[in-house]
Symmetry: C3
Subunit: 633 residues, 3 copies
Amino acid sequence: MKRTLGTCYYPEHWPEDIWARDAAQMIDAGLTWVRIGEFAWSRLEPSEGTFDWAWLDRAIDVLGKAGLKIIMGTPTATPPRWVVDKYPDMLAVDAQGHPRKFGSRRHYCFSHVGYRDQCAIIVEAMAKRYAAHPHIAAWQTDNEYGCHDTTISYSEAARKGFQDWLAQKYQSTQALNAAWGNVFWSMEYDSFDQVDLPNLTVTEPNHPHQLAFARYSSDQVVAFNRVQTDILRRYTDAPLIHNYMGRVLDFDHFDVGADLDIASWDSYPIGFLSDRLEASEAHKAQFLRQGDPDMQAFHHDLYRAVGRGRWWIMEQQPGPVNWAPFNPAPLPGMARLWAWEAFAHGAETVCYFRWRQAPFAQEQMHAGLLRPDSAPAPAFAECQQVAREIADLPDTDAGPSDVALLFDYPSDWAWKAQPQGASFDYFALCFDTYKALRRKGLNVDIVNAADARLADYKLVLAPGLLSLPQFILTQLPDYQGTALLGPRTNTKTDELSIPLPMGPNLPGLEATITMTETMPATALMALDGGGSLMHFFEHLEGSAPALFKTQSGLPALTGDNGLYYLAGWPDQLAFDRILRHLCEAADIATMSLPEGLRCRTTSTHRFWFNYDQTDTTVGDQIIPAAGVHWEAL
Amino acid sequence: MKRTLGTCYYPEHWPEDIWARDAAQMIDAGLTWVRIGEFAWSRLEPSEGTFDWAWLDRAIDVLGKAGLKIIMGTPTATPPRWVVDKYPDMLAVDAQGHPRKFGSRRHYCFSHVGYRDQCAIIVEAMAKRYAAHPHIAAWQTDNEYGCHDTTISYSEAARKGFQDWLAQKYQSTQALNAAWGNVFWSMEYDSFDQVDLPNLTVTEPNHPHQLAFARYSSDQVVAFNRVQTDILRRYTDAPLIHNYMGRVLDFDHFDVGADLDIASWDSYPIGFLSDRLEASEAHKAQFLRQGDPDMQAFHHDLYRAVGRGRWWIMEQQPGPVNWAPFNPAPLPGMARLWAWEAFAHGAETVCYFRWRQAPFAQEQMHAGLLRPDSAPAPAFAECQQVAREIADLPDTDAGPSDVALLFDYPSDWAWKAQPQGASFDYFALCFDTYKALRRKGLNVDIVNAADARLADYKLVLAPGLLSLPQFILTQLPDYQGTALLGPRTNTKTDELSIPLPMGPNLPGLEATITMTETMPATALMALDGGGSLMHFFEHLEGSAPALFKTQSGLPALTGDNGLYYLAGWPDQLAFDRILRHLCEAADIATMSLPEGLRCRTTSTHRFWFNYDQTDTTVGDQIIPAAGVHWEAL
Amino acid sequence: MKRTLGTCYYPEHWPEDIWARDAAQMIDAGLTWVRIGEFAWSRLEPSEGTFDWAWLDRAIDVLGKAGLKIIMGTPTATPPRWVVDKYPDMLAVDAQGHPRKFGSRRHYCFSHVGYRDQCAIIVEAMAKRYAAHPHIAAWQTDNEYGCHDTTISYSEAARKGFQDWLAQKYQSTQALNAAWGNVFWSMEYDSFDQVDLPNLTVTEPNHPHQLAFARYSSDQVVAFNRVQTDILRRYTDAPLIHNYMGRVLDFDHFDVGADLDIASWDSYPIGFLSDRLEASEAHKAQFLRQGDPDMQAFHHDLYRAVGRGRWWIMEQQPGPVNWAPFNPAPLPGMARLWAWEAFAHGAETVCYFRWRQAPFAQEQMHAGLLRPDSAPAPAFAECQQVAREIADLPDTDAGPSDVALLFDYPSDWAWKAQPQGASFDYFALCFDTYKALRRKGLNVDIVNAADARLADYKLVLAPGLLSLPQFILTQLPDYQGTALLGPRTNTKTDELSIPLPMGPNLPGLEATITMTETMPATALMALDGGGSLMHFFEHLEGSAPALFKTQSGLPALTGDNGLYYLAGWPDQLAFDRILRHLCEAADIATMSLPEGLRCRTTSTHRFWFNYDQTDTTVGDQIIPAAGVHWEAL
């Protein structure tokens, strides 16, 4: 399939007399897709039940006639003021008990049934009117679920919903009390309506209580989204898409994705470097205008899994954004590099956000392909270049991968409730693992831990999984490849208690975790031969042989016959040593890439990405700063 | 005019039998003025409508007969408990929605009409009784408006008041929606009573919404103060004064000052160093017991503008205070140095706060001229010395200035709503500019940007102005001096949106900002020839010649013929290079002063202030640590 | 008296069929005591008035028959859900006004009379049933009063209670206004029901207002505990105990202790190092797996005073805990070292917490003597070793001490309200003093400042006391030993105002504090001869001779004839010099111990504790890391 480009456009923000020129210029930029509609509720339904389709009809007409395919967004991320006046209790409530007020976006509680019904009305009205329209080629539901910490709401609607959800799940409070260990501090309940939300308690709430509320909250996102997909399916066969936000883990993207056809995500490499990445100041300085070299690829590989192979970038940073603590301009070339890296990981489409920088409101300092005065911004030419290059190149795909990284959203919720050490974070552990694989030049598939098929891979890594599903445990004995599990994997039940016998309980691996400890970042546990473990360490006993040991003689990595358990969180050198060992044993060829150089190998080409601020070389090939290079296999 | 000294006194805090001795000792200290009354409401009106003037009559009598001139303060910063019982909703409300309770001071919301009426009653009663009194020579309204973050209140009174204010300003919600760009996220309103205060939103509220609330809140301070000045004007011709607090920018001091005769400010150099100054640890250590060498002068020059030439220090730190994170004792000599620096900047009067250290309540660890046991504190002798020196010297004035720094409170509100980078702060930018001028030994006038007359100055600097008023834009073409605008100046409309054509839109300067970026403090943009820009950088295009460039070739300062635009925030070396260049061109003689030495040149003398902990020299003259030296011109 | 060991057990957490095996294994571990009952309210009284004693009867039977002595805990730290349903307003309220919800523990307000009554019912029911039981040998009231910041509650119950308490104390608002200096900011009250709790004020509330509320809150803990002890006394002569938590100072432990027979505390050396100790990163790294070398001893000596000689460790950390920011495993040997250090300071009993690691709920990652799978955890063998060693050794006691450190809870509350400098903390000052004494190898008695008998000691230190009780002042003139008071001691009245004449007002010491200043940690005041003062400095005037001076010539330590005042907070070197001087003069032999080595001298032995990670030597004796060594005197 030919890869395509697109952009995000808000006709309601601009005078109608420039729409046609915009559309023509989009074609000139090499774009195929344009997303519209997503925040336009106040213009589509200015008051309850009064719809104004005329302007949108005309916008679709102008864009479609210019040759663009339209992604129609449902506007449910921005309920207008009259909806809030109708349902004052639809506002989400923060952990301190304050309603989160109208005046920005995403001001709704996923648990509020009235709001869901209201969304159904606007979505059905849009579906009825536009599903059959020849220019509407895809639909996007809402916008960035969970962004601005909006998955969790401590509202009255959430409290009632949670109680019902618990009643369904446990059937009796006795069962709930037993499952959560509520006897511990006389926390037992006699009826479900006694169960409150786990905020504002004196000290930490019971960990399974927290986990249950996280599961419930994730389920509400799924249910909210499904209201929309159920309606849209009745009217259209066009692909349904949601645009996920980077490093948002508080709902299960696999679950939401199951109701959609394509996963997409919003990629802001420089904003994320500033806003949501644990890294040294030196690392942040090195990649200030490029973004972390692995952050985008990680999400590409994750959303390829969420989309069951089909995925897009719905919003691609084109220049400085407005919302991170610091907002530098990308190095020239990065808007092209980011797009090509997405394509090399299998993206079907990359849409730059946004078409024209809006001169007003909250995002007025967020760059677009055009400046506020409609002159081309620097990314415009890079976008054109990518369009030309797509035309010249054979189709790309993600290419095959020997390596799988198992990923699981509930594990993040569990460890958030029970980190045990202040520096333990599930995403950070997975990301460190992923970075170690990328330094070796490997293609990686990120796979939903709930239904991973191990046999598809030579090497499987599963760090930090709350519990291994039976589906995985069953595969382990016959698995011919190499599996590295841990730290912390399968050390808990699904109810976040310690199983008996104690973890990791891996068939064929005689090892038991007898004690767990956590340390500040400065207290490293040095390994024999180089490298260290950090943050988190599990004491193992059992007959499994130790492949790596700490200098004090404790097992750091144990196992044999392709099944291994890792007792701690390796630093970079330790990860490199461990992966070298395992890849050699698994007959996987590896490289050793510097921090700024990354590659991805498709079915036909190897793509190189220079994330550094200076030139680098691959063989004889010089790759300039922010440069992309591809070579046929 | 002969300069004078004074102090702040609370007769209600002390037994009546020591008032006469206090008054005599004030005369002995060389004082002319004494401020009383400001927190005494519970003693003047112990219950509603019951006034007790007798004690104040006697205090005035004792002080006046001793030869002191009295500043009478209105007590409205400390409403007594019965006022709060009468109007429970008069308490200001914090950003989290909590009423700010009785039990300290400034516990009122500026928007509360009932409280304004209550203040009118006590102020009128005081005016009636004392306006004609021969010993009452000046009046002070309230105390330190805005101190303890009290300008902004999220109360119900503020919500209603804001809605009315918006209705007056915009006349229709359509106009408001258009002005704010509310279409952006379906934030449009159908009626003004839908507009809430901009707190507790999911993500940031719309920037013009925030700016409008800041403008509204400032207007309430003006209105609150005007209630008092309107009453007082009916009874007295004595000068009306308010004592502003250092680095409080959340209401427009020029607007409040327009209703007053004299501006005064409360100068706590060591407290401010600890509490409200961005500076390195080394800088804070160097000036631990002296205060920053420019912080006082900046405010002197600012309040000279606010007072249209007439200004005082109403409260001068005499020793350790109680309220900063750390409260060291001043170096011996500083209480004299601070007073002389104020006089050299044109102060009419310097009042030390307070007469005697109170042994009780919140400020019991705040030094005075006397210790709690009535023995003289170290500042007492320094005060006497200043009094003697005033007698010996010819009158001082502020002297003429070749240089103006344009200053504008709404710009601070705008950039607080839209900093774009975490390290952007309007005051800090202005203060860095001011420090650079002071390192060159220059007299500076700080001028209200709304009505600056450029022709009065050889050099005008205008960093960080939201928008240039038409009054300034009209002057630019004919201005014969040198104007340096930017960064960020005139890049927005008054509604905090991007103008089209885009800024800075300076007549005669062909330059347009095409992109803005922000960086962490460690990411410097080096200039050709030395120095760097930091924090904030604007990409300029256009035909204006670049006087300074970044090492990567981007314009850093462009323009010619005396009109220049600065594209970023210079560090110290860059500022020194830029000012050297501009001053030479403008024929302004400069010096190059070390960090601890500062000067101010009056019409008759040049005053030198050694802010350092060690001796320094000026020519042959040795100036000891904390020393002052003056030489006739 | 022979020292004993014990553990904490929760039979309701475990299947009944393993109780007997557990009991037998406790005996095998060398344990004498087992604590039960403390969190079991939901199982003892599952609904109001319905008691289920059967399971507890059986547990007592099994444990007692195995030979264990039982400490019965009252379960009032964990009111079950039905109690909260009955009294929804019994929840404590945090400083922001939020009720602290059900779902963890300690969710009650000490001021709530209904809850006190409810506690009386369950306590009386337990007392009736078990007081006469032969296996019940001691009682524990509640659990860790004040833990999780639960002493202070801003509830309606507290507000009413506080008003009543004030009315009792002051009898008239005139008296209260005068005592607090409420005239200062028109804060005067006309009736007690106008007095609000001192939270959410605009700036800091009046300091005596804060202090009064701290005194009131402490009194409620005393009253709450007394409800239980009054009941228990009517049924039993067994010793009554409470288990205090480390570094909790917000209620007066001496006052609570007066109603009890034995003081006990919960010792978590590694958790406290991570969670509640000001120390450099290097210090925290050095003692990461051992805990601070003085933190335990300080509390041992403190609780020996609280228990009037009788004290226990009720909970001793045995391995990693779950609640600190970081939770490393102890060095092998520490579980033994900690126990022996307690015995050397006079502990009667050390109970390890907990018997078996619970696999569920909030503390599932908290180690016990047994692992969750009932295998012995590392501390089990160390516990057995201590049991054997106890049997072999003569009885220990705390030994005599030449040195007393006066300690006073209200002083902490006073300085919390009025720190004057951000780094001033009463506990930290006392702890630095204590560490200095321990570096000299000295036995220290910590003594309640309210009733200290100076004549019992050669050297008395009293840093940071709000005011000296008349009882102490009366002793000073005839005291033959050496007393070192200050900094800050006796500088205030009990109402937290400055006395006249000003402090320290010591009979026989001609010195007055004329000025107080505070500095950041980097601003040291160097002393002549080495060392520095830091944080806090008082300027002294008067004829008392200065034994130590600052390099700038100011008195740092003044006095003679055995009575001295210290003007600041010494750093380590300054403390060492000062103590060397005073101990020599007082004829007290001292040592000079490295940071990781500590000793305690009982009546018969000197015990050495190596807190370091490497071997050390004492004379010819090598003491391994985490080792204990004792030698007969």
